[in-house]
Symmetry: C2
Subunit: 215 residues, 2 copies
Amino acid sequence: MSEQNFETLMQTAYLQTFPTQLDLITEGDPADFLYVVIEGCVELYARSNSREATMGMVQPVGTFILAAVLKDAVYLMSARTCQKSKILLIPSDNVREAFQADASFTRAIVQELASCYRGVVKEHKNLKLRTAVERLANRLLRYHRDQGANGSLDLPYDKRTLASLLGMTPENLSRAFNTLKPYGVDVDGSFVRLNDTKALETLAKPNPLIDGRDQ
Amino acid sequence: MSEQNFETLMQTAYLQTFPTQLDLITEGDPADFLYVVIEGCVELYARSNSREATMGMVQPVGTFILAAVLKDAVYLMSARTCQKSKILLIPSDNVREAFQADASFTRAIVQELASCYRGVVKEHKNLKLRTAVERLANRLLRYHRDQGANGSLDLPYDKRTLASLLGMTPENLSRAFNTLKPYGVDVDGSFVRLNDTKALETLAKPNPLIDGRDQ
DNA sequence: CGACGATTTGAATAGGATCAATGGGAGTGG
DNA sequence: CCACTCCCATTGATCCTATTCAAATCGTCG
């Protein structure tokens, strides 16, 4: 977008640092701000009845609840930091203003929104088409790839969060790791060694239309 | 959008009628067209390993695979008609062109995309936060509301499709209907009578952030 | 060292899936 | 108009996956 429009927009924004485990937004509230994660990590989650589920994780540089802002609607998800995080808050009104005023910004927003959409669709396919063990296996392969594919990886979140993200209980995640041991998966805390990626891939059957970085 | 831009765009489009159960697109293919359902009904589904899952249903007037078109990427879902359907096909290039050229069109597209996004998020919450019986109960209440809330409703698709949409097997759907019988749910083919919506709502605990028409 | 939370393990249960078999229309052809 | 066939839906039985509840273990931080 134009330098000038960018400056105007940024003057309305707040850059804040939040401690870990702080609630940023609650589902059902009106979308007052667009959030951009600059540093740290944010967990998107949802509640219903008395259950809670992690919907996704946002890492730098990523936005969340863009759709609610554009539609001037209420948030569908809650969000909380899962690390000390630096976050940019842009008032919704100003986002929509810039959206009207600057065609380049519009295009960028649409690309981001389309990417978010495809991300959720992939997550939904993941959940509907795979068992818990398959989801874990594919997730490990993804982290492995994203961290350089050197035979080991670090789990980016604690196991409780990872379990919820994968749609299972912590107990079940623990058992899923045991199930994967014969496929060369050795776990030590948050450090995971993949001793037989071939075997793991045979089990996981990764699919670029679910696990792909983008496209 | 402007009358003129609309005419230009429509001149590139094809309006076609397809028979039922015809495959329109296949996941993984490049997004050559944007699809708009004018009449009939289209099922979005996905495959992986040897499993298949219904991802959503599109009814008039609705679009599908908008995100793939805007990103010039491959389809993440397949689509097939589930009735004889009249469908508008607009070449992706022309959609993107109009998207650049006409600000009103851009806004409309963004609203549609944001709505689709929120739709998938709701579906995802539905699946992660509810049991199969709860999903069925809430779906029945939704159809009931959308069809006038007069104590009965018609299932809009066959039960096999409904089951897949709700993330269960046909057998399990059949049993879920039996589970709901004590809550006043009487099924006769595709006709369903709700004799005790209060009781059904107590069980279903509908949530506007999952089942809401929009917002 | 002690306490707390996170993780793991075990046992029992529940929810759903699978396999097999039966019933029930809708459509077809005689 | 009726018999036949096919596919969908239902039911039963069993198996498997995943959740729940309980307890033990591990690690980390004061």
